[in-house]
């Protein structure tokens, strides 16, 4: 942990966003993670995305479980709400919170242990329900907090720090999400904020669960030769061919949008995601094609990154459950709980 708190230095007029805040207003407490941890870069990307979207800091709800990844919610947006749940239980807690107050931005931070091992079942059902949230998996392939054992996302053949190779097949959260019918599936890399920030901004505008698998190297236990989740390996094998660029129509002039054949996908509340794809026919709205493409890339030992699949037509948890437009937390108590007489009448309707 740094010896000092990141000082607030009034060096020059810092840029302000639409609600008059600077990027420093979206920071949290000092990170206690190892120096060089990929998770800190993900945190910095979240800070930038929230700042650029002018999200009111108190309208954010930070959800997490247990693990290095789950500590990171403390390191951004000090003014936000938050819940640090039991191991693997981030998804159900977020689902409950989301049901009670749909009028907030849910930022779930999890890891490959929290979501692909102990909490895998919960993640699966949150995807099925299309809970309205950003679901970030900070994926480093090891259990860093317990000194570097292989996690469920370690690739076959990837070597541990002391040499032995993993022999058990990995869970790939991207393929898992695609097969479960997820509405927004992305993969990115903590060392590439140019890509990660626009994906986070698009995820914040997405209606439903936006799953982002972020390869975030464990600098302490999984950043060596032989690891498939080191900074070097990812840089050498990353296929950054699906390049998203988030455009909030609220602040961009439509006439400025390039007409270079890039594919535009409208987000639910007006933003646009511009895809610039190098594989000529890649269509991020075609689930089968996306699965095929990701599978083939994996077979070649490549790591495709970018916003791989998006479908804004899939109903989210609120539409599926016909919940009230007004967040439940804002309903007057007598509407939320009409009383025994109403209950009696309701039950009688089944008779």
């Amino acid at each position: 942990m740094p010896s000092i708190k990141k000082p607030l230095i009034p060096l020059a007029a810092m840029p302000k966003n639409e609600i008059g805040l600077t990027i420093r207003d979206y920071e949290g407490s000092m990170s206690t993670l190892c120096a060089g941890c990929g998770h800190d870069s993900v945190t910095a990307a979240i800070v930038r995305a929230l700042f650029e979207l002018s999200v009111p800091p108190h309208k954010v709800v930070k959800m997490s479980g247990i693990g290095c990844s789950s500590k990171t919610t403390a390191y951004f947006d000090s003014a936000a709400h938050g819940f640090n749940s039991a191991h693997g239980r981030m998804a159900p807690i977020a689902t409950g919170a989301n049901a009670a107050n749909r009028d907030a931005l849910y930022v779930g931070i999890s890891g490959d242990g929290d979501s692909l091992s102990i909490g895998a079942g919960h993640m699966v059902h949150a995807i099925r329900r299309n809970v309205h949230m950003i679901y970030v998996i900070e994926n480093n392939g090891v259990y860093g907090l317990t000194k570097g054992q292989f996690s469920a996302s370690a690739d076959i053949g990837s070597a541990a720090k002391h040499g032995e190779a993993n022999t058990v097949a990995p869970v790939d959260p991207v393929m898992l999400a695609l097969s479960l019918g997820a509405s927004f599936v992305a993969r990115s890399f903590s060392g590439d904020k140019e890509q990660l920030v626009p994906i986070l901004k698009a995820a914040a505008q997405h209606r439903g669960l936006a799953l982002i698998d972020v390869i975030s190297p464990c600098v302490q236990f999984n950043n060596h030769y032989g690891s498939t989740k080191s900074y070097r390996y990812v840089r050498e094998h990353e296929l950054r061919e699906i390049d998203p660029d988030f455009i909030d129509t609220g602040r961009e002039i439509v006439a400025d949008l390039p007409r270079d054949g890039a594919l535009m996908v409208a987000m639910h509340d007006g933003g646009l995601v511009r895809f610039r794809t190098l594989p000529a026919e890649y269509d991020p709205t075609d689930r089968e094609a996306a699965m095929h493409y990701v599978n083939q890339a994996h077979a070649r030992g490549e790591i495709p990154t970018g916003l791989l699949f998006v479908d804004e037509s899939i109903p989210d948890v609120h539409e599926l459950n016909h919940t009230s437009e007004t967040p439940l937390v804002e309903l007057p108590f007598d509407e939320l709980c009409p009383g025994s007489a109403e209950l009696e009448e309701f039950q009688q309707s089944f008779v």
């Binding site: 740094p2 000092i4 990141k6 000082p7 020059a12 120096a35 990929g38 800190d40 840089r235």
Partner: protein
């Protein structure tokens, strides 16, 4: 882009803004850290190495370091560098055992210096330890030159002056007081191996207007008047005093007049206040002593009645926007008992015979090489105000060091243009994983204000020093304001894994990893925060191992907090202290 050559002593020197701005290149951050540790004697000696007179300069320096200070860019007020210098001087122990000593065996070379002011004393300070026999000729009976005669003792106590001059003279300098040099020719005939002219700019300018000489006893030339006060020849002045001039000497004149009985003292200025030459703090000190500052008044004539000065007439002016053109609005009469003229000073060389080969410029200054300090006469050197006109003490010291190098070269048969090179060292400050040998935390304290002696008290005794010096609490706060610009984040590209940790943690967004480009202006626009201050360099790395991109640091923004190095997993960034060793007389002989 070409990667930055951090092995060039000039690169990091430029980043240490205070040291770069100081004509003598005093290692300011180093001595401030020593003060923070309570090592006042060591802090004093670090000062003395370059500026020779820490106690004197800690009270009187023109402080070119302070406007340059990085802290000024951060919170609008620089570190009180000059005040801290005085702290080191005030609180030092006996340092005589740490001073350089002259060897018993002399090298057989004799050097004559003219005038015992800061320039000549610096020459003696540098040459005596090398075995030179230095003789200083002085017209007055006491040492110090203008430091003694034109700076009032309530700003610079005589004891401080004498102590620091003593450190040099006590090495065995042969000082000839009351011995004005009347002929350079005959001095050269005495067989000295080299001559140094450090005689200052001792003549105050006169103001030839109508009535100037009608009552000479009540119209004074500032420099001469201050000198007479310093030597005790003058001890009173009239009730109403007009001081003509807007420089630091004018401020000293009016403050001295307040102490000698002047109740109504006015500074009379032709132009608006922002064009004054006086340092802002000296102006403030004068105003604190109830000196009235009257602007836009141009002197017109001296008015006498029955042979007694009764006042002066002024044209009241109105200036255009940049005070270039003026328009006369009115003529006014201001009554007064005395007038002090402080409108500048000039050099006087009646003792230099024309025809010796020592050439003068049209301004009456000797032609002196700005690097070697040599005049057009080989073996004759000059420095300080005598060489380049009125500047200030710290410049005279800087000239003295350079002249000493030249004199040493000259006496050893080495061309004076061969300067001993500056050397540098970078020393890691790492003490532990996130621990440094300097205090890297940013301290938001405001600049500490100097305490002053009570107004009533200070007018009772002429020699009572006005500034009290910093208290222990003030010192401890002020030292922590220093950003340690000499502790450099040093980057080693082959170690970098491009994890972005340094960029994420930097509190001022001065770091960027970006693709390379051939154009510096393009690179400046590509940074996390566009680097718009073209005065400040960019620190550019070799291409990085994984992506071939480059790491760029904008030196304008960096506050040297060390967080980049604390968050770097591979120590590609490390905090290293930059130590500059300037060339000095005698150093060349060792290389």
């Amino acid at each position: 882009m070409q990667a930055t050559d951090i092995g060039d002593p000039n690169y990091f020197h430029r980043v240490v803004e205070c040291q770069w701005a100081c004509p003598a290149h005093t290692n300011v951050p180093e001595y401030i850290r020593l003060i923070a540790q309570g090592r006042y004697s060591d802090a004093y000696m670090v000062n003395r190495e370059t500026n020779v007179f820490p106690g004197i300069l800690g009270r009187t320096c023109d402080r070119p370091c302070e406007p340059a200070c990085r802290r000024d860019r951060v919170d609008g007020s620089p570190v009180a560098i000059c005040r801290l210098k005085r702290v080191a001087s005030d609180l030092r122990d006996d340092i005589t055992g740490l001073l350089p000593v002259a060897p018993e065996g002399k090298n057989g070379k004799r050097v004559a210096c003219i005038g015992i002011g800061p320039a000549s004393l610096t020459v003696a300070n540098d040459l005596m330890p090398l075995g030179y026999a230095v003789t200083i000729f002085e017209a007055a009976s006491q040492p110090g030159g203008l430091m003694r005669t034109s700076i009032p003792s309530f700003r610079l106590p005589a004891q401080v002056l004498e102590e620091e001059i003593g450190y040099i003279v006590d090495m065995g300098v042969d000082v000839r007081y009351d011995s004005p040099v009347t002929s350079l020719g005959s001095l050269l005939g005495d067989g000295y191996d080299a001559v140094f002219i450090g005689s200052g700019a001792p003549r105050g300018k006169d103001l030839e207007l109508e009535g100037r000489h009608d009552d000479p006893t009540h119209v004074h030339i500032g420099l001469d008047w201050l000198k007479s006060v310093a030597f005790g020849h003058i001890s009173s002045i009239g009730e109403r005093v007009l001081v003509i001039g807007v420089g630091n000497t004018a401020m000293d004149c009016c403050r001295t007049a307040r102490r000698l009985g002047g109740g109504d003292v006015k500074i009379m200025a032709r132009r608006p206040r922002q064009y004054f030459k006086a340092s802002p703090w000296e102006l403030e000190d004068a105003e604190e002593e109830q000196v009235e500052i009257v602007v836009n008044h141009a002197p017109r004539r001296f008015v006498t009645e029955n042979g007694r000065l009764v006042g002066m007439e002024f044209d009241v002016l109105e200036w255009d926007e940049h005070a270039r053109q003026s328009r006369k609005l009115d003529t006014v009469f201001l009554p007064c008992d005395d007038v002090i003229l402080a409108i500048g000073q000039e050099n006087a060389f009646p003792w230099v015979e024309r025809g010796l080969g020592l050439e003068f410029t049209s301004d009456g200054l000797p032609v002196v090489d700005a690097v070697t300090m040599q005049t057009t006469l080989a073996g004759v050197f000059a420095g300080g105000d005598a060489a380049f006109g009125p500047k200030n003490i710290i410049w005279a010291v800087a000239h003295g060091h350079e002249a000493a190098i030249s004199i040493d070269n000259h006496c050893r048969g080495i061309p004076v243009g061969e300067r001993p090179p500056a050397q540098m060292a970078l020393t890691s400050q790492k003490m532990g994983l996130t621990e440094w040998s300097y205090n890297n935390d940013y301290n938001p304290s405001p600049r500490q204000q100097m305490g002053h002696v009570d107004l009533t008290k200070r007018f009772q005794e002429l020699h009572l020093e006005v500034e009290l010096g910093f208290s222990a609490e003030q010192t401890m706060r002020e030292v922590q304001r220093c950003l340690n610009c000499d502790v450099q984040p040093v980057f080693r590209a082959p170690l970098c894994i491009e994890c972005d940790a340094c960029i994420d943690i930097c509190p001022v967004a001065c770091l960027t990893i970006t693709r390379d480009t051939d154009s510096e202006s393009e690179l400046r626009s590509m940074l996390t925060v566009a680097a718009e201050n073209l005065e400040e360099p960019l620190y550019i790395s070799e291409p990085l191992a994984q992506t071939g991109r480059i790491m760029v640091k904008d030196e304008d923004l960096c506050v040297h907090c060390g967080l980049c190095a604390e968050r770097c997993p591979t120590a590609a960034w490390n905090m290293e202290k930059f130590d500059l060793r300037l060339g000095r007389a005698g150093i060349g002989a060792l290389l």
